[in-house]
Amino acid sequence: MKNEKNPPLDRVDGRMKVTGGAKYFADFAIPNMTYCVIVGSTIARGTITSVDTKKAQGAPGVLGVFTHQNMPPIPGWDGPASKQADGPPPKPDTEEKYRILSSPKILFDGQPIAMVVADTFERATYAASLVKATYSKQTTRTDLEKHKKDEITPRGGDYARGDAKAFESAPVQLESEYTIPIEVHNPMELHGIIAHWTGADQLMVYAKTQGVNSTQQAMAQAFKLDPKNIHVHTEFMGGGFGMGLRTWPQETATVAIAKKVGRPVKLVMHRSQMFTMVGHRPYTAQSIQMGADKNGKLVSIHHAATAETAKYEDFTEATVNMTKFMYDCPNVSTRYRLVRLDRSVPIWMRGPGEATGAFALESAMDEMAHKLNMDPIEFRLKNYSETDPEHNRPYSSKHLKEAYERGAEAIGWKDRKNEPGKSKEDNWLAGYGMSTGVFNAFRWEASARVVLNADGSLVVQSAVTDIGPGTGTALTMIAHNVLDIPFERIKVEYGDTSLPKAPSQGGSAIVSAVGSAVFDTCTKIKNDLFELATKAGAPLAGSKAADLSIENGNVFISNDSSKKVAITELLKANNLPSIAQTADSKGSAELEKYSMYSFSVHFVKVKVNALTGAVRVTKAVSVADSGRIVSPKTAASQMIGGVTGGIGMALTEEAIIDHRYGRFVNNNFADYHVAVHADVPAIETIFIDKPDPIINPMGAKGMGEIALIGFSAAVANAVFNATGKRIRQLPITPDKVMQEA
């Protein structure tokens, strides 16, 4: 692979997407399709005392109304408890279990109480409105703040290094509390599934999943089928952000219902159901104790987090992990707790855990810098960790210092006044803020198949789904870099279980995992070509493979490019219509010697209206230290998307529950505020673009998560710099800014 920067390549599927050629799960039309609509519970805890489905059953076009009284069994769920995380059976240590439509018990608001199938979506919707239930309600516990005392300690437990009492004697001390509200992924595309039994034991599924292999696995388990009998297709996804990382119970139920109805069934959920049935970022309360000496050297950090989870399943994430290694600090401890509430289970949401944790840690770093009267960057540099203090091993690569420098330059950090409330712009208060983000860089196992055709075109195949980051474009670039086949002659096929296995699109890991598999497979093809070129009687016979290169459709001798043979000639001469290779790829044991992380730095400039508390982000610069950038254009888009999500997290997003009822009051796109264009300024993205020498052959680390992680703290820090007001509860809405003393 050429060790140079990659050229900007347009998104290879961009045209398809904007012209309607890209098919999302709900776009697939199957003859005889039927439509399923879910009726949700209107209470958050209690028991269904009656459910009247008679009217619904008699409504025009209705093919079935399924409740806990007549739901077809899901055979794999009734067996002995397994470790499968996707749906039931529940983890053994929780208090309750949730199996969709299996009992009259209600465990969370919006829990499905009926699934109605009709011959059109409209008729199913109407019939669903005729299902009436009565309940016996129980006291509802949905407010984490009120039930913190009921915390449990999840697996993983606490972490500590150094002296637990160091804080008490630290010359400068900070104690702060931070909260993150419930956030909902809310991708544009609604969740759902098409279930089509093509034979008694043959299942075709079009899903909204971030991993076709994981959906295949979940369905195989639920229906006790050989995974080979299950075909899952998800080429494109209209945004996932984590909500498609598991197979949700209503998907499995739709498959069971399709079998019963004997026709294909399409489920597309309502926006309001996206708040209760496909996970969310959990409400999390955090506290930080930080000690430093007068020179700005950290003495101790204690980071505690308490997050909500469901009564029926423990969901954990790495909220406090960043604190363990981010800064060079001798005494560090973390504490992570869960409170089981009458809520549906959370799931990873972009920057899972770290985005929550970074808000607290990076706000606290800013607060401490202020106490020390130090520049926040200087304070971070003073405590820079050159090696990973948690695992006592080197980082595979870390260019965070350069990231601080380049971001500071781009935002104009030198114009920042360290004293808050001192700058004005258009009669608004102006301020600068920054923060750091970090996320594990993974190297998961993946496989790929590559076919080189006699006409010189290339097909790259992997089961991986493209949820939007530009996976197809990145894989095109990687194949191009190995074989130098023109971009337009490379076709990437993905999102289907008939293709070589790949992990789910998540954890910012796909370029590393699937990209490595593509790299390895293309390298095999390259070696095949070298062999063909050098075997007896071949044009380059006598040369060694090690002395060959490939460029522009030719194999040639590296130091004598006049001695060459066209790839197409090689295949023709050998009567080969194509060459195909498959490779499984995973990292070596060498990787364990290193801590592998991607880093980011976010800089923002804000203006704040002193009277109304309105906050505007007027400039954002985000710098990624994520190894070699494989596809600069889609990577920049990925960053811009993350920052936009970060603005939402910082300023606007909050799913609000009326705790008296345990129900959401803003479960729609008018009232749950994702950032709109007017909230988002021009975003400058900067890539350090230096290959990581350890992680994979491309030297690429992930960047989907770091684009968002830490951003909300940068905004909070900028608001402080503008106003002197420290907002520790997201989102930073005008009322908080206006009131906070």
Binding site: Y126, N427, T612, V665, D671, V676, A678, D679, M738, Q739
Partner: protein
Amino acid sequence: MNPFQFTRANTPQAAVLAVSKESGAYFLAGGTNLIDLVKREVVIPERLVDINRLPLATIEETASGIRIGAMAKNSAVADHPLIKKHLPLLSMALNAGASAQLRNMATVGGNMMQRTRCPYFYDHSMPCNKRGPVQSGPSKGQPNGPAGCGAIGGVNRMHAIFGTSEKCIAVHPSDMCIALAALDATVNVTGPKGNRSIHFAEFHRLPGDAPQKDNTLLPGELILSVDIPKNELGKYAHYLKVRDRTSYAFALVSVGVAADMKGKTIQDIRLAMGGVAHKPWRLKEAERYLKGKEATLENFKQAATLAMQGAKGYGENDFKLTLAPNSIIEALQIATQTV
């Protein structure tokens, strides 16, 4: 959503007749609010009468001012040269509302008639006094969900601080109506009993004991147009909308200001607030105080204090007791160009 009849009216008379014949019949204008209400089964219609063919979309200059047809689209009004020139406050208020797509559908009549955004009103598993009884179908006359006010003691961050009752603390969500209230508009309607005009201040009402009634329109009455008198308040105008995101969100508090200035002196001024009451909230006391005074921060502060008399918070919306006067000051400063 229940099945309903759909008819199209070609004349105002036909529309009025079709709607006054049945209790569950509604005019359908842009549909941006009504269709949502129907989908949520807050409104359960027997019949929708499409009024989009009525010739009521003209915007014209009259002897005494400007007349805007009830079917004029929000975007058409906001962009109309007459409105931009003579009534900039109205243009600004319209553009502060909803999104471009919605403004392209929403009509002036529909905007005035839009229902509150109180979340309890839209979820009939939760208590609300505003929904009233079911209007049609087999459950006609029965309560549409539990009675009571969900917002009192509940999530009421968006709710009213003026003119509330123990039955309802909802706000009227319109931005456009804040401008119309400030500009002393008159609403021309026709109905089963003929034509009449309603002063804008009397068009919307406070919840009192009948929160299900948003306004004083009688059953079957159709809004034809809105008249706005000529004024000298065009030059110093501002609509300030404080909201949870920069665009496409309802007001936490909004303030409409239109003034006539001579030098630093306020010759005449109109002030109204949104997001604070069940109707557009005109600030007459503050207007009286400011008339003839200099545009100074001190005077603005005093006006804001006068405007806030009688305000009352309900917990989550207590911040409005500060945000509202702050917003009045900010809006006055911008409008009078004294910042």
